[in-house]
Symmetry: C2
Subunit: 312 residues, 2 copies
């Protein structure tokens, strides 16, 4: 935000306004948008230099100005400010305090930097990296370590559940070691499908393309998409199942594939909404967290289906 | 791009230029930046309305204008155009054809939309989703299916290598079934560390924070960061190894953890550079692709170390 913005009183003429702007221009961030304030410095209107130049020199600012300017408060996040500037194609957005007194402007070039920074931050979050205050190139080894270690360790403990799932089915596995061949492929597919739907939602929530109330509609659509994906991927592994494990294992693998892709996709779609609902940042959810949850469910589904179908 | 931009000849005075702009303003996208062109419509300078307003009315445009305007060609990608606008805080960027004749401008508000679109596209790519031409909310089931299925199926076949790795070590596994407990945790850690360094690089390459020539410097730094991360995560699983598998398995798991985190991180860091080097989009590399490669290496490293240390 900068406090070097151009203001005008509302009772002056266009000619007087142009003289004021000409006088003030050297010290102002922009003179292309001028803010009309009253004697208490309350924001009552906005007028652009283009409007001033096109207007008759004797017209009054109070008659020409837009009486309903778009503004933000000191409490508005920089992300929302950037979104307002982008939505209304503004050159600058006025910022007011709690008494509606104008205290500064944010210009489009700052907003552009914010859009890029926020995207970078969200990218990093989806890969469980904490907020980096410096560029990757300049970041020190210890800074990078600190921003990355927390979630990596948390996820280690998260993955213990997958391990416990496998350990629980040790008997099933030792009877059919061939089942292990398909384990990475099945849990990765679940995680990959989940990462896809999760990323779609995280980004759509960040850009405002979807909101919390859209969840049930999107869930219904995702069920269909995931079913189609699951069937395609099941078809892709059926032959592999026959070849590596025989007909019985092929059935288990195919059935598991359909189910884990659907379950993974629905987890991926829902987790960002759930986090948003509790005012947590959905970006954290789209990457490794979804994958870890999808892994556990994949392991349990796979070996449960195997134990049931193979009568173990 | 719009072709409704304001042009001035260089031989007019400030007063004449202001009159021209006033006359042309209603039809132009912006009059805050005016482009000075010669009789062949070649771009020879640029001047802002602010500069015109501050200058003496009798001064010549040719004396006031910036003779070295920043411009782009019709062949420049929209991503690069947006980056130029952001870097130089421009309100608009002139576009010239192969003969240096000016043919249009791209304004900052278009550039802002591009920055957001490109970030969305990169987000989707990192989760192996193809370019969506519509919003997620409006996309049909079949469109979403088509944009997601390709990489999911490719990755199924990629993960066959992990399965083959496991199958290769079936003897080791059947002798020490306890090893399976740690499998998800170790390969997920390798993939997660890889996704982190991969995402850092993909985003840094996209924003221009790093370039191809920085690879060796970043690789050296990543070796140190990954070593620290690996040691921390090894410490986190050592106790778990003792508890679930005894001292020998604890040693195998701890050693594997250090190695897979380092290998995963270095793959994650290098793959985006490798793709960039061959003019492929690095964004595709940061998510599931890195995870899949890290998985295979994780499986092979884990069971190789186990077979060696446990004398199998």
């Amino acid at each position: 935000m900068t406090s070097d913005y151009a203001t005008l009183p509302d009772h002056v003429t266009v000619q007087q306004a142009l003289d004021i702007l000409r006088r003030e221009a050297p010290d102002k961030e922009t003179i292309y948008t001028a803010y009309v304030v009253n004697t208490q410095r309350k924001l009552i209107g906005v007028i652009t230099l283009r409007e001033l130049i096109l207007a008759p020199v004797g017209a009054l600012i109070s008659e020409l100005m837009n009486h309903d300017p778009i503004f933000a408060s000191v409490h508005t996040s920089q992300e929302e400010i950037a979104a307002l500037i982008a939505r209304y194609d503004l050159m600058a957005l006025p910022i007011v305090n709690d008494d509606q007194h104008m205290i500064g402007i944010v210009t489009y070039d700052d907003a552009m930097d914010v859009v890029e920074q926020e995207a970078t931050e969200d990218f990093h979050k989806t890969a469980t990296i904490g907020k980096l205050e410096s560029s990757v190139k300049q970041a020190s080894v210890t800074l990078l370590y600190r921003k990355r270690v927390f979630w990596l360790v948390v996820l280690v403990f998260g993955n213990i559940f997958s391990g416990a799932g496998i350990a629980h089915f040790e008997e099933t596995i030792s009877s059919y070691l061939a089942l292990l061949f398909f384990l990475p492929l099945l849990i990765a597919s679940s995680g990959n499908a989940g990462a896809q739907s999760g990323t779609l939602m995280v980004r759509a929530l960040a850009t405002g393309d979807v909101s919390l109330k859209d969840w049930s509609y999107l869930l219904g659509k995702e069920c269909l998409v995931a079913l189609l994906l699951g069937l395609t991927m099941a078809a892709a592994v059926f032959g592999l199942g026959i070849w590596r494990g025989g007909a019985d294992i092929a059935v288990v693998v195919t059935l598991t594939m359909v189910l884990v892709v659907i379950v993974g996709s629905l987890i991926g779609l829902s987790l960002p909404f759930l986090l948003s609902r509790f005012n947590l940042d959905p970006a954290t959810a789209s990457g490794p967290l979804i994958t870890s949850i999808a892994d556990v469910t994949g392991v349990i589904l796979y070996f449960s289906i195997a134990a049931w179908y193979l009568n173990l």
